[in-house]
Structure formats: C-alpha cells, structure tokens
C-alpha cells in the first residue's frame, strides 16, 4: 500500500489517515501554503507552519482548528512521523515529509528553487518517493535570474515616471506582490497598493521581511501629482475595472512565469510582461527531483504527462497523480494563482 494516494477529496496519507491540501472538506488536513487552490475552508483540523498561520487564519477564518509546526519540527500521528520543510514558494510554504516504517515520502506542494529573500529558501529533502508539482514542466520555461527581472521592472518604472505616467504592475496579491516589492528599487517613486495587497504586506513585514513603505491607492485623487511617478501594485482582477480610471494614462505590466511566451503575453493585453514566477522552471524541477534522491516520483498539476514521460526516460518510476489543481495542460491557458 502506498503511503500517499490520490482520492477524490485530495492527496491522502493512508497510514496517517489525513489529507494534504484537500479540495473537499475532510476531518484532518495538512496545508502546504495559503494559496486558494491548496488551502480551502471546511476541514475539521488544519496543520501548517507557524509562519504561515497568520495567512491561513486571515484567509480561512480566525476560528479554524489550526495546529502549527516550526520548519523541521517532528510530529508523530498514527505512527507516521510528519515534518514540514521550506518550499521557497511563498511565506510559510512547506513541503510535507512523511516517514512510516522506514519509508519516506515528500509532498512538495508548490515550490521554487531560487531563494528570494521573502521566504525560507527551498530545502531539498531526501526521500524514497517525491510528489512534485509540474506547473512549468516544459523545457521552454527557464527563468532568468530574478535580479535581471527586477532591473527590467525598475527600468520600465523609471521610463514611465520620466514620461509622467503611472506604472501599474499586475501580480498575485499574496507572494508575488511582496517578492516584487522586496526586490525593486523603491527610490524611483511612491509605491501604491490595491486593497487586497496591503494586508499581506503587513503579514510579511511582521514576519521580518523588508517591504518598502506603501500607500493605499484608494486614498489618491486622479489629479494627485504623485500618481505620475507612482508604481501601483494590484491583482490582475483589478485590470479593466473602474478602479483603474484614477490612474489616467498609465502603462501596465503583468508579472508571471506565463509571460515567457509571446502568445500568453499578448493575450494579457498589457504593455509589458515580466517573466517572474514563484514556481520552479524546467531545470528547477529536474534539479529538485534529483536532489531528493527519490526513485519514485508522483507528478501533480501542470504538465503531468510530459514530466512523467521525461522522468521515465531517465529511468525513474514516475506516474501522474490526478488532482484538482488543474488539468494537465489547462495550466498553460491562463495564469494560475501562483
């Protein structure tokens, strides 16, 4: 019997009788991170990292039955030794290590291998079986070092500011927004944020992550001179809304790994696409898998078929796990919450 299997409710630990990131309500759950497709309401009991606790409570409700662990701290449940290890995806994100009768499984959740200064860097964990995501599981996805991307963003912002135009940067409110704010040159102009971004900035600041001073965009009038040189960080859902009108003649951009392709960039209809992802790129996925030393790899959401076939060609025992994080190539059509 495998230690983890795919059930209609989610990934299920058989010996431990609990689920990892279930998409239907279950009695006991382990949550890798706070993004909506991994952390859902209605579970009887939640286990997550202590660092991620604040975000989980703010998203799922203050009254959830939540137990927390520090990274590396061990817990034994029904004979299964469980511990959480940094996944480098967003603040508090974790891989789940499960050990039962000498066999070790690790479920990655979502992960990125390049350290970014806003969360604990990805830590490879040796195991027999590794459950990996595959969001960007095609060799066309290779990220440039993030410093180069931040410089591109700075350059774009500087040019807009010089031309008296606001710079609207669309990105996901949790994780990507803070990573960008942490990485850019805050001296270029004022930074404004959308109402959905600011609460998360607060959580990051409280966790000791440097996030430059930000202002609530809603406080600014259209005539305010500050807008002409401002960077506005907003979720993609704000695009095209009346909320945007206050920025007058602005330049807009979208930060996501999907921006690597000309087609997806053009479909977004923004002036600029910055290739910045909180997921591992193709070399990152292969490196992480290799580092675990696992002989068996279970592939979830993303390019499942491609990665499974590639790993099998490399002599690994690989197979796909059906999850509700997205169909195998649906991921490519629309930017997923990262």
């Amino acid at each position: 019997m495998d230690l983890v299997i795919a059930r209609p409710e989610g990934l299920y630990c058989t010996a431990g009788d609990f689920y990892i990131d279930p998409w239907r309500p279950v009695p006991r759950s382990v949550i890798t991170h706070g993004h909506g497709d991994h952390a859902r309401v209605g579970n009887g009991h939640y286990l997550a990292t202590d660092i991620g606790a604040g975000i989980l409570r703010s998203r799922l409700g203050a009254d959830i039955n939540l137990q927390t662990l520090a990274y590396g701290e061990k817990l034994v449940h029904n004979g299964v030794t469980l511990s959480l290890h940094p996944a480098g995806h967003v603040l508090g994100s974790a891989q789940v290590r499960l050990e039962y009768q000498g066999e070790v499984w690790v479920a990655s959740g979502d992960y990125k291998v390049e350290p970014d200064g806003t969360c604990e860097p990805f830590e490879p964990v040796r195991c027999h079986t590794f459950i990996t995501e595959s969001t960007f599981g095609l060799p066309i996805y290779r990220w440039q070092p993030q410093a180069e991307i931040f410089e591109e963003v700075n350059q774009w912002w500087r040019e807009n500011a010089a031309a008296g135009k606001a710079s609207v940067l669309f990105c996901y409110a949790f994780g990507k927004a803070q990573r960008l704010l942490h990485g850019i040159d805050a001296s270029i102009g004022p930074i404004l944020t959308h109402g959905s971004v600011e609460p998360l900035n607060r959580v990051y600041r409280e966790a000791g992550v440097h996030i430059p001073a930000t202002h609530y965009a809603g406080d600014f009038k259209k005539t305010d001179e500050a807008l002409r040189s401002a960077l506005i960080v907003a979720p993609p859902s704000a695009g095209g809304s009346t909320w945007m009108r206050r920025f007058g003649d602005y330049s807009d951009a979208f930060a996501s790994g999907w921006m690597r392709l000309r087609g997806t960039r053009r479909r977004r209809g923004v002036d600029r696409g910055f290739v910045l992802s909180d997921h591992a790129d193709w070399p990152g996925l292969l490196w992480a898998i290799e580092q675990t030393g696992a002989q068996r790899v279970m592939v979830t959401h993303g390019s499942v078929n491609v990665l499974v076939r590639y790993l099998r060609d490399q002599g690994l025992d690989a197979q796909g796990f059906t999850t509700e994080y997205g169909d195998e190539d649906e991921a490519a059509t629309e930017p997923q919450p990262e």
């Binding site: 290779r142 087609g263 169909d327």
Partner: protein, 552 residues
C-alpha cells in the same frame, strides 16, 4: 540585429498606434540606411523565400538543446510558433551581436539558401551563438519566413513620411512593389523612399502600379442609405466581383499585372499580354475573373465563372495549354488610374469611368471588359437587384461616390468606396475536432472542425465534417470553448483532439461548391463562426441536405 529586435519587442508589446508610430520613427531616425531598407521591407510584409528547410531547423534545435524529439514537439505545441520555440530551447548565449540587420541578412542569412544540409548544420550554431535571446527569436523568424508584427504598411508609410517631411501618399507610391520577391532592399533604395520630391519622379516608375484604393464595409440597413449616402444617383454602382483584384500597367511598350498584395503576377496570366495594344502610360484597376463565352440572358452579367475555378489556376507554377484553354481569364475593368502617362487618381470617379469606357472601346480586346454599371430608381430598388447576387456568383454591390477621388489604401479622405455585401450563407454545425491555435492563441484550442448530420433526425446518422473555422469568437468565448474542449476530449491525435459533440455554432460562409477532396462532398469559402448556439442541442444541428440545398 539588436536594434531591430528591440524595435520588434517594442512594436509587439503595445496595441497603441501612436506608440508604434513613435517606435518606428525612433528606429528609422537612428538606423543606418541599409538597415532601415531591410526593416521597411520586413515591416511592410516582405518575406524572402524560406532560407533553411523547417525540418533541418527542427533537427538542429533538437540536437543543440539535447531534448528528445517528443519533448521538442510538446514544447512547440505549447508555444505555437517554430521560431519562438527554437529560440526558447536553445542554450543561452552570452554574446550579443552589434552587427546591423542588413549585414545579417546579406552576409549571414541570405547566403544560407540552397546550402546542403551538412553545411547548414555547420554554419547555423555559431551564428545563433552571437545573438541574445530576443535577437535570436527575430533572426529565426526571418529564417523561417514567419516574421510578423502588428504593424500595417500604412503605419510604416506614415512613419517614413513624417521622418522625411513628405506626403504619405507619395511615400506609399514609392513603396509599391518594395516587398516583391524580385526586389532586394538597398541603402540606395531606402534613400529614394525618403528623398525630396523630384520632377522626373513620375517618369521613372517603370512598371510600378499605384497603391490600391480599398473599400469599407457598409452594414447599415438599406432604409438608412438616403440619410447616410444621399440619393443613389450620386453613386456609381457595380457588382462586387469575386475574383482577384489587379492593376494592369502598360508603359514603355511593356505590360505588367499586379495583384492587390502588390505582387507581380504578370507570368501567371499570359492572356493579358494581348493588352500590350493599350497606349503607353495606361493603368487600369479591375478584377481578374474566369471568363467563358456563352450566351447569357438579359439580366445575366457577363460570363463570369465561380471563384473556385480561378483558385485552380492561382496555385499553379506552370500553366499548361489545357489549363489556359479550360480556365481562361479576363479583366473586368472598373477604374482608370493613369492615362496618357498622367496620374488620373485626382480626377473624379465619373470622369475616370468615362475615359475608361473610351480606353476599353479602343482596345476592343476579348480579355478586357467593363464592369457594368447598375442603375436603380432608389436604394430600395438596388437592394432588390442585389438579391440576385448569389445566383450571379457575386458578393454584393460596390458603391462609389461619383465625385470621389482614388485614395490610398483603406482611407476616407479622398472619397469613399463602400462594399455592400450580401449576408453570408449560414448553417448550424457541430464542433467535433479542435486544434490549438498559433501566436496569441497558442495553447488555446481555437481552430475547430465542424460537422453536419448525414441524415434527418430520428434516423441512424453520423456527423460528417465539412468545414474548419477559427474566427468569430470573442476572447472570453474562446476561453470557455477551450475549457469545454478539454473537459470533453475523447481522443488526442498529435495536436488534434476529438471531442464528445456538445457545441453548436452558427457558421457563416461566402460560397459553396461541390468538392471531391472533402468527405462531405462540399467545400465552403471563408467559413467563420457567427454565433455560439447555446440554445441548440446537437441533435438539432443542420444536415448535409441543408448544405445541398444551398448549392442549387
């Protein structure tokens, strides 16, 4: 190459015409003349013949990237463009060539054509290593002949005109034929494009045609025509022919035939050499149609044959005697752009028409006919006459203001031509196969195959494919359909998916003909989706019988 690649990135990133214009002007202001010459060529649609066989490019990319072939194919399916895919999988380069576009084209890329595979395999990798990723992608697009960016020729013309302080119609005239395959961009040629106007310019044109004047679609109901257009006797009305728009240029004892794409097609239509009898300095605008002598009845237009026949001739490289006998062509003339060596485009429509009639009468050639003028007592009367369009094999009517000058491209400042087309044929069809699109539709299932039933409801029947269509949906609808296709996929054959039939669309198309090449026995022209029939279950979609009725 770097500057041109940067221009490409800038043009590609914005949808604003003003931003594009600014980017073009900035580029041309800085670029060396020989580089600008090539940039104008590519930006206004010029495409040299493919320089390297696609198969070799694939093989080389696979070898250099170290990817298995299937993984390269998966990547290509996700990207939807070969040049871009190759640029994304090749190893990173730390070099960034400073050499210009012209140097790259003339010294590196054009010489590749026709080289044996072994030599290409030797030469290409070191070339690619000199380019940063953006330049590499542009370079690969130039190699594959797939270079396209959202810039119209009109915009390039405007950028050059503003840079040179010229009227943009003048630049448009000079640009005619610039992208023809026989033309090689040079610094000298570019400098002529932007040179100050000279007196003998008109005389030095050789066989060059004029920029075509294009019509706008008229979609309002006929009841509004009096308000919109005024009385109908102010308009010259003709059938809208379904052929190939062309200009016949006769100068210096020679005759040239140009298609609307400003492609020189003289050799494809040897019949027109009979028109060398036209006086020097004559340019006629009209439609090439297949023409057969047969007794027509009174309200029958001249013996114009269906476009499907013309299509059989277009693709042929060599024209056999038999083909010329079976499918003879003629020009239906409707405008006179040059007469006695003078530019007549600033004469009113009516004056040009009168002179055209005289020219045609004098030529008295079996390959030159006038496009007849139609007369009606009112717009309503013309609308009634227009109902014969389908039967006559025309697309509707053309309305040309009698006092209109002949403009450049799809403009309205010199006068207006309206195309008043008949409604398309329509049929409700079922989506049965889907394939991912290209470019901005990459990774989205946007190219569909549609089928109709081969029998009436209640019988045992199957769906027969008859048309492919990929246009007509909004972006939002496209995403919805894409999601349904993924959910209802039955099988995958390479890039194609078959789906459980659940989606019905109203398809529109312009023409319908019998075809041996299609399973359904029917071929339709320019099929597109008019609307998504959410209200229609698959069982209620149309059948082959509906299509067959349209044939008669």
């Amino acid at each position: 190459m770097k500057a041109f690649a940067a221009l490409y990135a800038e043009l590609d990133a914005t949808t604003s015409s003003n931003a594009k214009l600014a980017a073009l002007q900035a580029y041309f202001a800085d670029a060396a003349a020989e580089d600008a010459a090539w940039a104008v060529y590519f930006l206004s649609g010029g495409r040299p013949r493919q320089l390297v066989p696609t198969r070799l490019l694939r093989e080389l990319a696979i070898a250099l990237s170290g990817l298995p072939e299937w993984l390269f194919e998966e990547s290509y399916q996700a990207v939807g463009d070969l040049a871009e895919t190759v640029s994304l999988v090749l190893p990173d380069s730390s070099h960034s060539s400073e050499a210009g576009l012209a140097w790259w084209m003339e010294h590196e890329l054009l010489p590749l054509r026709g080289l044996p595979p072994e030599e290409l395999t030797q030469r290409l990798p070191p070339l690619w290593q000199q380019l940063d990723r953006q330049s590499l992608m542009v370079c690969l697009k130039l190699i594959t002949g797939s270079f396209r960016v959202g810039v119209s020729k009109l915009l390039v013309t405007r950028a050059l005109a503003q840079l040179a302080g010229l009227d943009s119609k003048r630049v448009a005239q000079r640009l005619v034929g610039y992208t023809d395959l026989s033309h090689r961009p040079t610094a000298e040629g570019y400098l002529k494009l932007i040179a100050a106007e000279s007196d003998d310019e008109h005389a030095q044109r050789g066989g060059q045609p004029y920029p075509f004047f294009l019509a706008h679609a008229l979609q309002q109901p006929v009841e509004q025509f009096d308000t919109l257009l005024g009385p109908c006797d102010q308009w010259q009305v003709e059938w809208k022919w379904d052929g190939i728009r062309a200009q016949i240029v006769k100068r210096d004892g020679h005759l040239w035939v140009w298609s609307r794409g400003e492609e020189l097609v003289t050799d494809r239509f040897p019949e027109f050499q009979a028109l060398t009898c036209l006086p020097d300095g004559t340019v006629i605008d009209g439609e090439i149609v297949v023409w057969k002598a047969s007794e027509g009845t009174e309200d029958e237009p001249p013996s114009v044959q269906p476009f499907a026949l013309l299509q059989q001739r277009i693709g042929r490289k060599t024209l056999s005697r038999k083909l010329l006998d079976d499918i003879p062509v003629a020009l239906l003339a409707y405008d006179l752009l040059e007469y006695e060596g003078k530019d007549w485009r600033s004469q009113p429509q009516q004056v040009r028409r009168d002179m055209l009639e005289q020219v045609a009468a004098r030529a008295a050639s079996p390959v030159l006919h006038l496009s007849p003028m139609l007369h009606g007592e009112s717009w309503a009367d013309l609308a009634r006459q227009r109902e014969a369009s389908r039967r006559l094999g025309v697309e509707g009517m053309m309305l040309k203001a009698r006092d209109a000058l002949y403009g450049v491209g799809r403009t309205k400042d010199m006068g207006v031509w309206w195309k008043w087309k008949v409604d398309p044929f329509t049929v409700d069809a079922v989506l049965i196969y889907a394939q991912a699109g290209h470019g901005r539709r990459a990774s989205l299932y946007t190219d569909y195959t549609f089928a109709v039933w081969d029998g009436p409801p209640g019988t045992e029947r199957t769906l027969v494919p008859f048309a492919k269509a990929y246009s007509g949906l909004t972006d939002a609808e496209m995403r919805q359909v894409d999601a349904i296709i993924r959910r209802t996929t039955v099988e995958k054959f390479g890039p194609v998916r078959s789906v459980t039939p659940t989606l019905v669309f109203e398809l529109g198309f312009e023409g319908i003909a019998l075809s041996k090449r299609h399973k359904s026995g029917i071929a339709v022209r320019f099929p597109r989706m008019l609307r998504w029939r959410h209200d229609k279950p698959v069982e209620e979609a149309d059948s082959l019988a509906t299509l067959q009725d349209l044939l008669s």
